[in-house]
């Protein structure tokens, strides 16, 4: 590993002033679970590390009906996974965490670190996008709130300026008759998904008509990939097998998946179809339960 200067601010304000001083030469480390692997290979050679792991004010999980869920950027994956309120209100989020890597990673890795790393194969961004979550960023000019969906720019590139800090993930309360699900294709538990899907479905309880659907796929493009055309197929209709199949098919045509040792482009396309179908069906099922 290459040498670097190390800063460990204790508050968000302090962190911002360090970042400002470093003028773009500071790299934020949170849990560092992905970053350190890259640094050990000398793939990533930051001059300065701003380690925000010690900013305890950003380590919280709060919920209110009005505000929804507020996850401090420093919350570990384990904290999210085990949070009673997450389990009760957003079970899909807890399930997602259960399949995110392994215990050791979840115990040290943070939500903030994960969502800012910008890996299109990561699970949390996909579910935050379907949940219509927002990321609260602070910078020298003050606060800025961006939609999770708009945050991802390219492979490992996100909408975070060099002097900004992600403070909080804000997840709105779910409306009634809404179901959310997340699943990914793993050969082994905890694998990075060969393909993954997060889906939110809201239905009209009396007619069964789908009022809203949000579908995001992971590891099929250079960012988390929202398949709006698949959503369109479902919205305004009573979802059945045929529609699910169609939504899946559309998704498989629209994505631009990579090809690697875990799966070819062709395979990923078909898996996108399967997972859109499967996970939507699961979300739909949950929407029907959540009266």
């Amino acid at each position: 590993m290459k040498d670097f200067s190390y800063f460990a601010p204790k508050t968000a304000t302090e962190a911002l002033s360090v970042l400002a001083k470093l003028k773009g030469e500071g790299k934020i480390m949170c849990g560092g679970q992905s970053m350190l692997v890259l640094m050990k290979q000398n793939m990533l050679t930051p001059e300065n590390i701003v380690d925000i792991k010690g900013i305890s004010e950003l380590d919280y999980i709060k919920y209110s009906e009005k505000e929804g869920l507020r996850i401090g950027a420093l919350s570990t994956h384990s904290a999210v996974e085990k949070s009673a309120v997450v389990k009760e209100k957003y079970p899909a989020l807890a399930e997602m965490e259960d399949n995110l890597a392994v215990v050791q990673t979840r115990n040290w890795g943070t939500i903030g670190g994960n969502v800012c790393h910008g890996d299109p194969a990561a699970d949390p961004p996909s579910i935050f996008i379907v949940l219509n979550a927002k990321y609260k960023l602070v910078g020298p000019e003050g606060e800025r709130v961006v939609n999770a969906e708009d945050f991802y720019k390219d492979y490992l590139e996100v909408d975070l300026a060099h002097d900004e800090l992600l403070c909080e993930v804000q997840v709105p309360s779910l409306s009634a008759n809404t179901g959310v699900a997340h699943e990914k294709l793993m050969a082994q538990k905890g694998d990075m998904g060969i393909v993954g899907a997060a889906v939110l479905v809201t239905i009209n309880p009396s007619t069964g008509v789908c009022q809203d659907a949000r579908i995001v796929l992971t590891n099929v493009a250079s960012t988390p990939f929202r398949v709006k055309s698949s959503e369109k197929v479902l919205i305004g209709k009573v979802i059945d097998e045929k529609l699910l199949e169609e939504a899946g098919k559309i998704a498989s045509e629209e994505i631009d998946p990579p090809s690697d040792v875990h799966g070819s482009e062709e395979y990923r396309r078909d898996m996108a179809r399967v997972f859109v179908k499967r996970v939507t069906a699961k979300a739909l099922d949950r929407a029907k339960q959540n009266k």
Partner: protein
């Protein structure tokens, strides 16, 4: 080196440690090379094998994926700190008696993952145990006997 050394104060196996470290030193390197606690093993460089698992404030983490400076103010327990003097911890005892150990290279990590699990949840089920050691690879004793030994230790800890 790029920068001056950083102060580091933390507890290892109940002992207070104060020293200065290069910020790029990993916790694993600190333990093995500075503190000579070689029971924590180096297996892979990609955070995959779990051989370097230690307990940080009671939780299982990988010493290879944490900077040494990051444990400032925290408490670390390594495999050397698990037994009570000569007396083995119930997890260790069960692994020895049940024949879970072969080459032993993954054992330290297995014990540390199991210890963290049973600290948090002494009533852990087989499912919980599998989940807790999913991050610990083993090449030769496999997982069956480890899982069973941890089940046995859980019973001992619960006083059953």
């Amino acid at each position: 080196m790029k920068d001056e050394l950083k102060d580091l104060k933390f507890k290892v196996n109940g002992k207070k440690i104060e020293l200065k470290v290069n910020p790029k030193i990993l916790l694993l390197e600190l333990l093995r090379e500075e503190l000579k606690l070689t029971g924590t093993r180096t297996g892979c460089e990609v955070s995959a094998c779990g051989a370097c698992t230690v307990n940080l404030d009671g939780k299982a983490v990988r010493a290879c994926s944490i900077l040494a400076v990051q444990v400032n103010g925290h408490e670390v327990v390594t495999i050397e700190g698990v037994a009570d003097g000569e007396k083995l911890h119930p997890i260790q005892e069960a692994m020895v008696n049940h024949g879970a150990i072969e080459c032993g290279f993954c054992t330290s990590g297995m014990v540390m993952s199991a210890r963290a699990l049973l600290l948090e949840n002494p009533r852990a089920t087989r499912e919980d145990i599998k989940k807790a050691i999913q991050g610990n690879m083993c090449a030769d004793s496999g997982y069956v006997k480890y899982v069973e030994a941890i089940e046995m230790a859980a019973k001992v800890i619960q006083g059953k």
